[in-house]
């Protein structure tokens, strides 16, 4: 159970039950769909970009607790950030969940997102934690095709 609690931290469970920014964004000027074909997770990320900065961000879809909480907390942490800042946070987040973060300073700037550090002990769940982020990247880059974790 100890390991499980590392993965399913209360914050994660809470976000998965009551996801933030869970809506269609009327003002969105960027949008992308992401799938995890193995488990059927499916999210749409809506983005309102004002020049270089993320004015608003929201999401909809279905998935496991990890993927939903990750999407929810991503929207919270990226609102108001520039594209470069968002890319940097994603880089740090990715390193953390794949177990590649080598020091505390690598995680500086992740803030509450560090609750996902337990994912690195569950390699099969890395795709769940990063689905929303990959989808966001596709939305920013304006890719038309749905992105897939496979």
């Amino acid at each position: 159970m100890a390991d499980l609690r590392e993965l399913y931290q209360d914050v994660i469970l809470e976000h998965s039950k009551a996801p933030r920014n869970y809506r269609e964004l009327a003002s969105a000027n960027h949008k992308a769909e992401g799938f995890n074909p193995l488990c059927g997770d499916h999210f749409t990320i809506y983005l309102s970009l004002d020049g270089d900065s993320i004015r608003d961000i929201a999401f909809q879809g279905s998935g496991c607790a990890i993927s939903k909480a990750s999407a929810s907390m991503m929207t919270q942490s990226l609102k108001g950030k520039t594209r470069a800042e968002a890319a940097k946070i994603f880089g740090q987040f990715h390193d953390m969940v794949t177990g590649h973060a080598s020091s505390e300073s690598d995680q500086a700037g992740l803030g509450k997102l560090t609750v996902f550090s337990g994912v690195s002990e569950f390699p099969a769940r890395v795709k769940c934690a990063t689905l929303a982020w990959h989808t966001l990247q596709a939305a920013i880059e304006g890719k038309q095709e749905a992105i897939s974790t496979e």
């Binding site: 390991d3 469970l13 499916h42 998935g63 496991c64 769940r125 769940c128």
Partner: protein, 427 residues
């Protein structure tokens, strides 16, 4: 094969002579499966992902090892001792499959990579020859992707139409609808014997009868059926029957397509190359006789031999005994799992085999799978390569426990307490 060789082979096959057990001693049987002895995350392995692939008994592992240690040579071509011996072993495995399915001739048994390749073979040969523009291919609403996509591709290529017989809320085929969809343009029906996502056993015999009344040939996908049900292709009167070796205690990479002799004779070849020819000149090639016409290239020799060993092992236990044991497990599991608050079974057909699919209120199946894995319990979560089934029930995925002859009531109980733990974590 010479009479002397047949005799020798018969002597080398003790499994056939094993008496049918009156009591199904599952603890004794578990000793035959070395993989089950291990612990996962400090807990005894509870392997309930048998619909994905089954574990292998020692006799199968030994048969493969022995082939490479003692018998390895290419088949159907050597004049030397080893090649002849390997050929005999390979063809003896074909005879094992023939008896297993009760086919009339061993030449009706084609070795392929698995059920997927078997369906593709029929779609690409029989299908391309008989399905034309405006024609129809009939499948059911509970097919695995491997019995959907090959037909979809064929229909796209030919301008034909894929028709789908719907299923009920319990996951049972609507037989009247199936019957009504068998029309004058239906060129083939491809139906699953047992649903991998729901566990439903289809009334295939009746379905085949209905199809034959309209002169429609039928392919049966038996991947989930052969481990649980005695299959008799003559009694079913199916035109094609496909299954995978690895789901029935054999190795991966080997499977079987049964086809009625007359149909196979008339079909064009699938892949071409060595072994499937009688003579080749640059002007013309004469194809080999059945079954070799459909077996181009060096086949999976050790795989076929391993499958033969698996079939003899299953015969030794008695498929009826296995079926009775699994039936009891499945119904015990269905009752116990559905009694957990917030759990709903998906697929509640009257006649089921091997599979228990379920969803939990407010918990995604993937999270169920991770938590059970921490308890050493292996299940499958996801859409099980049956996305249309998930769409039918309006769910993204299910958690699926699937049973084999070596599973026990204690393992079912472990599953149930694991599911209760899921509730605790998500409380």
């Amino acid at each position: 094969m010479s009479t002397a060789t047949k005799k020798k082979l018969a002597q080398a096959r003790p499994a056939q002579a094993r008496p049918v057990r009156l009591h199904f001693d599952v603890e004794k049987i578990r000793e035959d499966f070395p993989i089950l002895r291990q612990k996962i995350r400090g807990k005894p392995l509870v392997y309930l992902d048998n619909a994905a692939t089954s574990q292998k008994p020692q006799v199968v592992i030994n048969a493969i090892t022995r082939f490479y240690e003692r018998d390895n040579a290419n088949i159907h071509r050597g004049v030397h001792f080893l090649s002849e011996h390997a050929t005999e072993e390979h063809e003896a495995a074909r005879a094992d499959v023939q008896q297993f399915l009760n086919a009339t001739h061993s030449k009706e048994i084609l070795f392929v990579r698995g059920a997927t390749e078997a369906v593709n073979l029929v779609a690409q040969t029989f299908g391309r020859a008989h399905v034309g523009s405006g024609d129809e291919v009939l499948i059911t609403g509970m097919e695995h992707h491997s019995n959907i996509v090959p037909w979809q591709l064929l229909c796209e290529e030919k301008g034909a139409r894929l028709r789908v017989a719907p299923i009920s809320d319990q996951g049972e085929l609507l037989l009247d609808e199936f019957s009504a969809l068998l029309g004058p343009r239906t060129r083939i029906a491809a139906i699953t014997h047992v649903s991998n996502a729901l566990g439903t056993v289809n009334p295939v015999r009746r379905m085949i009868e209905l199809a034959h009344e309209r002169n429609v040939p039928v392919l049966v996908d038996g991947a989930q059926a052969v481990p649980h049900i005695k299959v008799d292709v003559q009694a079913l009167d199916c035109d094609f029957y496909a299954f995978s070796g690895h789901k029935v205690y054999g190795p991966t990479g080997i499977g079987v397509l049964y086809g009625k002799c007359a149909l196979l004779e008339a079909m064009p070849p699938y892949q071409s190359g060595g072994d499937m020819i009688s003579s080749v000149t640059f002007e013309k090639t004469i194809f080999n006789k059945l079954p070799y016409k459909f077996e181009a290239g060096t086949p999976n020799i050790s795989g076929a031999i391993g499958l033969g060993a698996a079939i003899r092992y299953l015969n030794g236990l008695g498929i009826d005994n296995v079926a009775a044991h699994e039936h009891e497990l499945l119904y015990h599991a269905a009752a116990a799992v559905s009694a957990v608050p917030g759990v709903r079974l998906v697929g509640t057909a009257k006649d089921k085999a091997g599979v228990l699919s379920f969803v939990m209120e407010d918990v995604h199946p993937h999270d169920v799978g991770t938590i059970l894995d921490q308890e050493g319990i292996a299940i499958r979560t996801g859409h099980h390569c049956s996305q249309p089934v998930m769409q039918r029930f309006n769910i993204p995925a299910t958690a699926r426990a699937s049973f084999a002859l070596y599973n026990t009531r204690e393992e079912v109980d472990a599953l149930v307490s694991g599911i209760r733990k899921v509730r605790e974590v998500f409380a």
